[in-house]
């Protein structure tokens, strides 16, 4: 069985400071890892993904994430947070196959204060 853990329900950061949203995963096989963002009353928007190759992946809105196989982690980062980054962030994992579903973590609410 595959699973994702996001250990922080909420992350608070001041505007302009760097942010990190943590994610660890458990999966049999090579993982495909994703980050999604959800703004209030909206659907999930794809931010970035790790499939293979370079462990540091860059995505939308200046976000990046680092795949760490030994720690089974895929933390989301941004060098300088914006108030508009405040939203709910979901980490997700799957093994690529039509019969394998995308499993989400519980979500982390990011609050960026001016």
């Amino acid at each position: 069985a595959q699973s994702v853990a996001q250990p922080e329900d909420q992350v608070n950061v001041a505007e302009g400071n760097p942010l990190t949203v943590k994610c660890t995963y458990s999966v049999s096989g090579n993982p495909y890892l994703f980050w999604y963002v959800q703004y209030p009353n909206r659907g999930l928007q794809f931010l970035l993904k790790y499939i293979t190759g370079d462990n540091l992946v860059k995505g939308s809105y200046g976000f990046e994430a680092e795949f760490n196989k030994s720690q089974t982690s895929f933390h989301l980062k941004k060098p300088s947070a914006l108030v508009s980054d405040s939203a709910l962030y979901f980490c997700a994992v799957r093994v690529r196959n039509a019969g394998n579903m995308l499993t989400f973590g519980g979500g982390t609410r990011l609050m960026v204060k001016p």
Binding site: K49, N97, A98, M101, L102
Partner: protein
Amino acid sequence: DTAVSQTPKYLVTQMGNDKSIKCEQNLGHDTMYWYKQDSKKFLKIMFSYNNKELIINETVPNRFSPKSPDKAHLNLHINSLELGDSAVYFCASSQETGSNTGELFFGEGSRLTVL
């Protein structure tokens, strides 16, 4: 053009009623999904269809029945609605064959409230 569209966006109904939520994707994807997001924002897969064929059916009451008339549509019908069915239901799609890496594209959600 909206890539994955769901209707209705909001649905308020009484216990015991039957309701449907429709989903359409214009991305040409071969796989569609229904996810349920509860009040704590936890996302859980309900169903997945690949080229109109059911491939994932998680532990969901029989009152929930998905129907895929073609690979661009996946509708969700719910019989005998219960209070616990209140949630936001998200439709999603992905391309599972070829060089695509299988990220999901989500609709805006359908908020179901059962009174």
